[in-house]
Amino acid sequence: MYAQMVKTAGTGLKSREEMTEQERNFQDKIDADIKIEPKDWMPDDYRKTLIRQIGQHAHSEIVGQLPEGNWITRAPTLERKAILLAKVQDEAGHGLYLYCAAETLGVSRDELTQMLLDGRMKYSSIFNYPTLNWADIGAVGWLVDGAAIMNQVPLQRTSYGPYARAMVRICKEESFHQRQGYDAIRKMAEGTPEQKRMAQDALNRFWFPSLMMFGPSDKDSVHSAQSMAWKIKINTNDELRQKFVDQTVPQAEYLGLTIPDPDLKWNEDRGHYDFSEPDWSEFFDVIKGNGPCNVDRLAARNKAWDDGQWVRDGLLAHARKKRARDLAAE
């Protein structure tokens, strides 16, 4: 998931008796699947939680460009390069759709950007892992975008209208991302022994970080109940993680690659795969800022923002001057 461990604002789930009349009407709308729109009344905690969640989601799209952008100039063929370029451009677009959705809740774009740059807001833990070689780019598309889709498809039904509409657009484009990744890693898995070894190595490194994308286990997710009642979270972390494993194992088998989990096996009774939990201490460590690339990622975003300052200011100064000139001419 691109938004992990979003802290739900407020005191937790309220019973109907504890709610004010306004809150009851609000909850009734959500229960009836009526979308909440920007000008509608909403509880402050709903607004705050959504800003955190959509903001974190947007930041993930933007920071997510870095590990892949890293390989644009070194893609193995011109076709792969053009495809990767288009994919990374899509991620920028996804970030923009989501920032716009967050802005309808009353936060400004600059505030959101500032909170990313100074570390007050997070992005998905997965983007703090490095992409060491071309096989990693295939693995990111296949696994990371695959995990993102798992989470984003149900969010198309989320209660906040602008967020739901952004998700619809994103999901349409995301399928291209996963398929291009699978296609790239398939090429390697079916290639020379050395290429196949690289594909396996990429899967080995990205498997558990991908499972972490869905966030901590349900028993440790303290914020879920209220967010689920508000329909800004549709499935639990463990539900989505299970779904992802069930979908991905046969895809790996087709490639002749092995999931790096000796305990992975089909459970006939449950009708699902049993699998090992990721190392949650590693996850919390990465979230805290100690992953392999946290420092690099934030430094790159800060540099881009600082280096772009004169362009933003220059274009705005030009626009203001032109507007003043046009007004004077009228």
Binding site: E103, E173, L315, A319, K322
Partner: protein, 94 residues
């Protein structure tokens, strides 16, 4: 002075679309740049053949609380729809 670029609402008419539809918004310093950015952000997959951009603060929207008084009156006027009237089969298509 606030140096954030203003917000623009973007409307796009598709190849076979009859009208421009709102697709989202973006920040840009002026209208010309807003159109250029809209092309990149909202038409990467042949979504449109025409773009309108409007500065967001130039839009006045109806208030959600007016929903009742604004739209309920039309609910009681079913005769405004052609299906209200029975036309005998013998008359043919009308």
């Amino acid at each position: 002075m606030n140096n954030e670029w203003p917000l623009w609402e973007i409307f796009i008419r598709g190849q076979h679309g009859m009208s421009h539809r709102h697709v989202g918004s973006l920040h840009a310093p002026d209208a010309e740049m807003a159109i250029k950015n809209a092309r990149d952000v909202y038409t990467r997959r042949n979504e449109g053949v025409s773009i309108w951009v409007v500065e967001a603060n130039a839009i006045t929207a109806s208030s959600p609380s007016d929903k009742g008084p604004m739209y309920e009156p039309s609910e009681s006027k079913v005769y405004r729809h052609p299906t209200f009237f029975d036309i005998p089969d013998e008359v043919g298509a009308m």
